[in-house]
């Protein structure tokens, strides 16, 4: 319901350029999205993720239940809305997905490099997405509050900001080309302004999400990967510092935004 109102508000802001047909279209789309909320297939991935979290797996045959996602071993609630953050044990700032890979390596004995090279939707990468969906869902309804209190995190934020505005590729696009202003759209899709808190359950706070266009579950890593694909950039490696820095930039900006994961997207 809240989203519906927001969509309408954005619409009025369009002002004189918006013809009647357009109002009807935006309203129609808002209704379509509402109809999809009931029975989000993301729940299938969440279920699978829960099973994988508790299951003894990998060369060491242990579960992930002792994984430390930043709030201590095994603490799930609230972990997602504080990620990415700096981890002393790896000496890195990590997002949820790269941190889960660390746990799969250290606790279960999986080969991290192998997992990160696996294409999205396949093998352990598919499992990782399901795990991320489960972990994120444990913070559903909570508000983003990255700790953002180390030099490493500050550096990542500044790097992320520069990446956000970096123009390149064949089309001169940057992240900001689409996500640097309020109230804009691509085709009929509303574009969140990611230079600030775009609102509850919008932008950074809307992922992982089920994408109806290809019936896949997408975490933030794949979301960013596909943004760069459409920007006509080369590919950012999974878990690379480019992806982490952008996540820190968006996550810090989204402070106070409510996580609605798992959500459902076009």
């Amino acid at each position: 319901m809240k989203r519906h109102v927001l969509a309408l508000a954005a619409l009025t802001a369009l002002g004189q350029g918006a013809a009647w047909a357009q109002d009807a279209a935006a309203e129609g789309i808002a209704k379509y999205r509402e109809m999809l909320q009931d029975g989000n297939p993301a729940e299938l991935f969440e279920m699978k993720g829960e099973e994988l979290w508790k299951q003894k797996r990998g060369p060491k045959n242990v579960s992930l239940e002792q994984c430390d996602l930043g709030k201590g071993p095994g603490v799930l609630k609230g972990a997602f809305v504080e990620l990415p953050r700096f981890f002393k044990d790896t000496g890195r700032v990590q997002d949820m997905e790269s941190r889960l890979v660390t746990c799969m390596e250290t606790l279960q004995g999986f080969n991290a490099a192998e997992i990160m090279k696996t294409p999205f939707g396949k093998g352990e990468m598919a499992n990782l997405t399901a795990l991320a969906t489960y972990v994120a869902t444990q913070s559903k309804g909570m508000r983003f509050a990255l700790p953002y209190n180390t030099t490493e995190e500050k550096t990542m934020y500044e790097v992320g900001k520069r990446l956000f505005y970096m123009r390149g590729g064949t089309h001169d696009f940057s992240c900001a080309s689409c996500h640097g202003q309020e109230g804009k759209r691509i085709r009929l899709q509303d574009l969140p302004d990611l230079t600030k808190n775009p609102g509850d359950g919008i932008g950074f706070a809307a992922w992982p999400a089920y994408r109806v266009s290809n019936s896949q579950m997408w975490g933030m890593q794949l979301r960013l990967n596909d943004c760069y694909r459409q920007q006509r950039f080369p590919e950012p490696k999974f878990g690379s510092d480019v992806t982490i820095a952008l996540a820190v930039y968006m996550g810090v900006n989204a402070k106070g935004a409510e996580s609605i994961v798992p959500s459902i997207k076009r």
């Binding site: 490493e152 505005y165 123009r167 089309h171 080309s177």
Partner: protein, 218 residues
């Protein structure tokens, strides 16, 4: 786990400052340097999208720097960019500016081409509807760019071949060939200059915008 670039790059400043708990800032140029390192370590070639696409030309570097600083680009720098970009504009080889608006509509609709999931054979689209309203019939259009509905009509183009229309016809061609020739930091892709659309395709899109028979001008 691959060793983090950030950890390595930060090692020096952290030593200098001592391992204090407080969050310290670096000079902006230092963050620029770290960003360049991070970019180098993070991206890889995929399909037709190679890492050389990340090489920044002056226009892109200056516009991004202004954005990061949060202030408009320096006027002199902007002028210099516009002059340099203007020199890249290639005018139609046969002097004809307009093609077939029906073909233009197809190009405007298509958002294909030049991603790593495309290949050399993919026919590039113009991505126009992603950002602009164009015909009235297509309700699925973006708003990042201004509405182009009635583009020619609003500018008084009743005969695109007439001398009266010359200025606006040439401006439209130049704008599509290299948008940055008119606005240093325009977000619009440089369709001609970057080889996104070829001369024939640009003529078709020109017709979509300027042909009095195009639905755009109805």
């Amino acid at each position: 786990m691959q060793k983090s670039t950030i950890a390595t790059l930060l090692a020096a400043p952290v030593l200098v400052l001592g391992l204090s708990a407080c969050v310290s800032s670096l000079p902006s140029a230092e963050y620029d340097r770290i960003t360049a390192e991070v970019v180098k370590a993070s991206f890889q070639d995929k399909g037709i999208a190679k890492v050389d696409r990340l090489v920044q030309d002056d226009a892109n570097r200056e516009c991004a720097a202004a954005d990061v600083a949060g202030k408009p680009i320096d006027e002199k720098v902007a002028k210099a960019i516009e002059e340099a970009e203007m020199k890249t504009v290639k005018w139609p080889s046969d002097g004809k500016f307009l093609g077939d608006w029906k073909e233009g509509e197809k190009i405007a609709q298509s958002g294909r081409g030049l991603t790593w999931t495309d290949n050399e054979k993919t026919v590039n689209g113009g991505n126009c509807y992603n950002c602009h309203q164009i015909t009235k019939e297509e309700i699925s259009f973006g708003t990042l760019g201004p509405s182009l509905y009635n583009y020619g009509k609003l500018r008084g183009v009743s005969d695109p071949n007439s001398p009266a229309s010359k200025a606006i016809v040439e401006y439209t061609w130049g704008k599509m060939w290299n948008s940055r020739a008119y606005n240093a930091c325009s977000q619009m892709p440089r369709a001609g200059h970057k080889g996104i659309l070829n001369e024939q395709q640009l003529k078709h899109v020109m017709a979509l915008l300027l042909d009095p028979n195009s639905p755009v001008n109805k």
